[in-house]
């Protein structure tokens, strides 16, 4: 899965959690919690659902790396590459 596909997956899950999300307007460098008004339960749902779809368990200590769309894509790319390698 390349970066674009990862980004699309994350935005898709975001749209499930925050239906008012405009996929084209999500700033990749902004904190998603503030950009989309996510609370702590939303954040946990986002990360766990993305992880489930990718078959990746994201430990809570890595949650800070999932705070922006850009960093989340980079983190998940790394996890998938490590799994494949």
């Amino acid at each position: 899965m390349n970066s674009d596909e990862l980004r699309d997956l994350i935005v898709e899950v975001l749209s499930e959690i925050a239906p008012e999300t405009d996929p084209a307007a999500v700033d990749p460098t902004e904190d998603l919690r503030e950009e989309l008004d996510l609370d702590s339960m939303d954040e946990l749902n986002l990360i766990t659902r993305v992880g489930e779809r990718l078959g990746v368990d994201v430990p809570e200590r890595d949650y800070p790396q999932m705070r922006t769309l850009e960093s989340a894509v980079a983190y998940l790319s790394g996890r998938l590459a490590a799994r494949a390698g």
Binding site: I17, E30, R33, L44, N45, P59, E60
Partner: protein, 358 residues
Amino acid sequence: MTSLGAVRSRLVWQTRPIHDAPRPDDWAWLTEADLARAARITHPSAMTRFVTARALLRELLSVVRPDLDPARLRIETEPSGRPYVAEQPHLHVSISHTNGLAAAAVAGAGPIGIDVERLDRDDLPSPSVWLAPAELPQLRRIDVELRRLALLHRWVAKEAAIKAHPFPQQAERRRIALICAEGHTAAEPPSVRTSARTEVRMELGGAGTDRRPSPAGGPGHPAPGTHTPPVGPDDRRAVSGSERGIEPAGGTDRRSAPAHDVPPSDPPSDAFWCGSGRARLELAATTAVGDPARVDAGDSTERWLSIDWYALADQYLVAVARPPEDPRSAPELSTTDLPGRPTADRAGRSADNGSPGR
């Protein structure tokens, strides 16, 4: 004049509805730094939530520490999101928000944690993601039709508890177990204190004689140097509690329960519901996925606290976590008399200042 000793023992928490846009009074509480941060938030509702919560927090700081100018306090955020007051490390603050409601808590001494959720929330994450191994078997004993409510109670309690007592960074929710203390478990949903309003303030004062300093000019006038936002005609900061007052739910009167100095041992293993009261926060030795976790020597792996639940307007559930060594065995819920606000003596008159929430 209130002594600082009495002030430091004060604990206040308050909830406030989040409207479509910040109120003028909320803006008035914000510092330049707060405004700059608000300006960086692009999502309108996220910005409103930030402004509402930050204004509420500054207002509560002015209640707990009337000797300080809240406009001169820098509220910073740890990487975890936990707020703190840069100039006052002894002050403990906590915030929470959910759709439609913000909450803040300030304690002059001792840690404090607060969490709010909507009672109709039905998208809780899978329990295996955030419950510790020790908590999962307990959950299975809850009737299926009560399970969502049980999880919701556990969620807010655990969030509030972790905010009050954050373990080291590597500690995850599923490594932290909330263990009910013996005598504080329940086979049914725990007793919660209820209010018909969503904007409520709870204040645990000192020894009952604690009063904020008489401001210059008499009651209703701000003390010199105090940052006080203008009072508008619809000042929803004027909180009184509901026309019913803040009523303890039926059940055990905890004010007659002895304060425990020694934590009870071996709580019942099937206790998922915690009655309001003491609980133990325990750092598990392993994660739910069996990954042995490093527990540093010297880390405290067990902490005690008190948790209380409150239901507001049948819409929201609030949990407040505070130290169990608090000498008050139960929160003495009282309405705070602020200028222009109805007093508790007038409970029972129909309230015209507050349809709750939005």
